[in-house]
């Protein structure tokens, strides 16, 4: 226990991140299930409005800040040093510091449930709803509201994220093995580098906004309070200046995982390495200038609206480039249909659905019609579950053998996959229709309008199926950890450096880092050895003949 609490080993810290995220993932998932049960039929009374509002706020907050970010950051912290042939991160103690802020920030946010009732202002916490007049608790701790815990908790989590971003950037810049120039660096590291840069720039925007929100609530300022001359629209701008890059912080690591998994299971180098890296960088840059597409209904001027609509459409281009790169890699490859590849394929399909419904929102007229309806809920869950989470599943099946030394069960993996695909689409596809029919998001119940009960019923059944897929997944990890096949160093015949060491890797990772001769170090090493052997045996043969 103590050696886990005091560890500065990037692999242990990475595991701690991922386990913390897993715990919060289960909690956030149960919150979602409770909401789906409430919505399963019209005029249901399973949850009251106050509880329901707390649950959707905490579900969103949890999944974004306590699951998505720590999971992906943890994966990066585990893998990046191994992939670049380093012994650890650039700042091992900062690494531990960054991690420990996450669970404590998370606990503070969750403590609000017991202290005063959690925030009811939604994960983007718009004023005036998030100000004192509307969200003040009356628990044992006086007039402190859930939003107070929420803002301070997120501030703590945010500082931790910035620390990890600094560490990841410095690690990638400084600790690459000899021979690994930027042109040879695994795409995973490229995209994590862009992600870390976004965290570095975007999280401080949130931090500044959180500070001002907290001052408004506790110290009587009025930054966002219209009654004191402040501007709720300013909060919206600040939040989405952070919030849109945040979407890329959650999706670029998913692209990173997919860009590693697909080549290995197609037995081909990635098609258009430069384009995957370059489009990642341009997504990161573009992503800083499109935030107001979350605010088309807020009454911005027409010029501003058109600019942000057009810029948001443009960002579909580099994203589309990536999808073509992956398809190009699969094309003509000798595909091995193991669970990592299956989840990667599911990712491409489901993420594309989410990408297309995203373009709908960049179309301003349609946005006005669909904003704040279930169409939004459908869109963001295709992106974040069908996208990010499916990619993480692919990555888990791929790297679990490296983390633990044991393979996950393929049979359970198939069950997990199909339940997840069916569950995702059953839950969220119908929500597109609910949105078009005008069902608003964030309402705790609804009237018995034509079609609404059926669609919501299907959605709830889907959520139960999706939940069961997670049970299978957890069971798979539990069983495989004990009885899974022994993995060996490199069970997938993969090419990046993490597979050149033992599974799980020893402390300090490598005895000797293999020479990096190209983009696929282990492949090029084998090729070099084989040609050397051939030359040798040819040489010997000639001797005999002569």
């Amino acid at each position: 226990m103590l050696d886990w609490a005091s560890t500065v080993d990037h692999k242990k810290i990475g595991i701690l991140y991922m386990l913390t995220a897993l715990v919060f993932f289960v909690i956030g998932g149960l919150e979602a299930l409770a909401m789906r049960i409430q919505l399963s039929r019209p005029n249901n009374t399973f949850l009251g409005p106050e509880t329901y509002n707390q649950l959707f706020t905490m579900h969103g907050t949890t999944m974004i800040f306590l699951v998505g970010m720590p999971l992906l950051i943890g994966l990066a912290i585990y893998l990046v040093p191994l992939m670049i042939g380093a012994r650890d991160m650039a700042f091992p103690r900062l690494n531990a510091f960054g991690y420990w802020l996450i669970p404590f920030g998370g606990l503070l946010i969750y403590f609000s449930f017991f202290a005063t009732g959690a925030s009811t202002a939604g994960w983007f916490s718009y004023p005036p709803l998030s100000l004192r007049n509307y969200t003040l608790g009356n628990g044992p701790f006086g007039n402190v509201g859930g939003v107070d815990y929420w803002s301070i908790g997120l501030l703590i989590v945010g500082v931790g994220s910035v620390a990890s971003a600094i560490n990841l950037i410095a690690t990638i810049l400084l600790l690459r093995a000899p021979g690994m120039g930027f042109g040879r660096m695994p795409l995973f590291c490229w995209l994590i580098f862009v992600t870390a840069a976004l965290i570095l720039i975007a999280i401080p925007a949130l931090n500044a906004a959180l500070v001002m929100l907290f001052f408004d609530r506790r110290f009587g300022t009025a930054f966002f309070d219209p009654t004191g001359g402040g501007s709720p629209l300013l909060w919206q701008n600040f939040f989405w200046i952070f919030g849109h890059p945040e979407v890329y912080i959650l999706i670029l690591p998913a692209f990173a995982i997919i860009s590693e998994v697909i080549p290995v299971f197609a037995r081909k180098p990635i098609y258009g390495y430069e384009f995957v890296a370059g489009s990642g960088v341009s997504i990161g840059l573009f992503g800083l200038f499109v935030w107001a597409h979350h605010m088309f209904a807020a009454g911005l001027s027409q010029g501003v609206t058109i600019w942000f609509g057009a810029a948001s459409m443009l960002i579909a281009v580099p994203t589309g480039v990536k999808i073509f790169n992956w398809i190009g890699t699969l094309w003509g490859g000798s595909l091995r249909f193991r669970t990592p590849l299956l989840f990667a394929l599911a990712f491409i399909l489901q993420f594309t659905v989410g990408g297309l419904s995203g373009i709908v929102f960049a179309t301003i007229a349609l946005d006005w019609q669909l904003t704040d309806t279930y169409f939004v809920v459908a869109h963001l869950h295709y992106v974040l579950f069908g996208g990010t989470v499916f990619a993480v599943f692919a990555g888990t099946y791929y790297w679990f053998p490296k983390f633990t030394g044991r393979m996950l069960s393929e049979r359970l993996g198939r069950w997990h996959l199909w339940l997840a695909v069916i569950g995702l689409n059953a839950t969220f596809f119908v929500q597109h229709m609910l949105g078009v029919m005008g069902m608003p998001r964030r309402v705790y119940t609804y009237g018995d309008f034509p079609g609404w009960a059926l669609a919501n019923g299907i959605s709830t059944v889907g959520a139960v199926i999706l939940g069961s897929s997670i049970v299978v997944f957890l069971w798979n990890m539990y069983v495989s950890l004990r009885h899974g096949d022994i993995a060996g160093d490199n069970p997938w015949d993969a090419w990046t450096l993490e597979w050149a060491t033992t599974s799980p890797p020893q402390p300090e990772n490598f005895d000797t880092v293999p020479p990096v001769l190209g983009r696929r170090p282990l492949y090029e090493l084998t090729a070099q050895r084989e040609s050397a052997n051939r030359r040798q045996s040819v040489g010997r043969g000639q001797e005999i003949v002569l």
Partner: protein
Amino acid sequence: MSSSRFADRPALLGVLLFVTSETAFFALLIVTYVHFFGQSSTAAMARAHLDPFRTGIFSLFLFSSSFAVWRAERTGRANRIGRRRFWLAATIALGIVFLAGQVLEYAGILRSGLGLGSNLFTSTFFTLTGFHAAHVLVGLVMLSILLGLDLANATNARSGAQQSVSIYWHFVDGVWVVIFAIVYVLTFRGIIG
């Protein structure tokens, strides 16, 4: 940026990245100040309560402390320990004088019965300059640690730490240049110019 420059001093790169992140934080506080400037009576309030000449003079102390910390770094690198101690102490002293100026400015506003939450001017002014002062204070703590280590003759191979603290101090100074230009020069440009 050539990464080899940082290869043996990763902390330098770490501080540069940290400072980049802090720049984004201050940028939003500054945008907030500018956003509300001229709304309701913020401009008139600023003119009534700020003292550009006094704060301008105190700002010179902070600006010259950047020179002092640069000298501390150079003399340290040349292994002239006595000089280095002098320049470190000078940096700290100049920083303290600057903070004293801030205290005077704050005291004036507080004496007239205004606080952080009184109106948009006090909110934006105290938040922006308060976070800056907090950064100055953190810098002073780090400089004092450097000086303390120096006096205890524990400074071997500390030039990485010295350089890191210098970068941070220059950053704090640079942020003040922008804040002073916006909060003071902008407010009084009609009166001064």
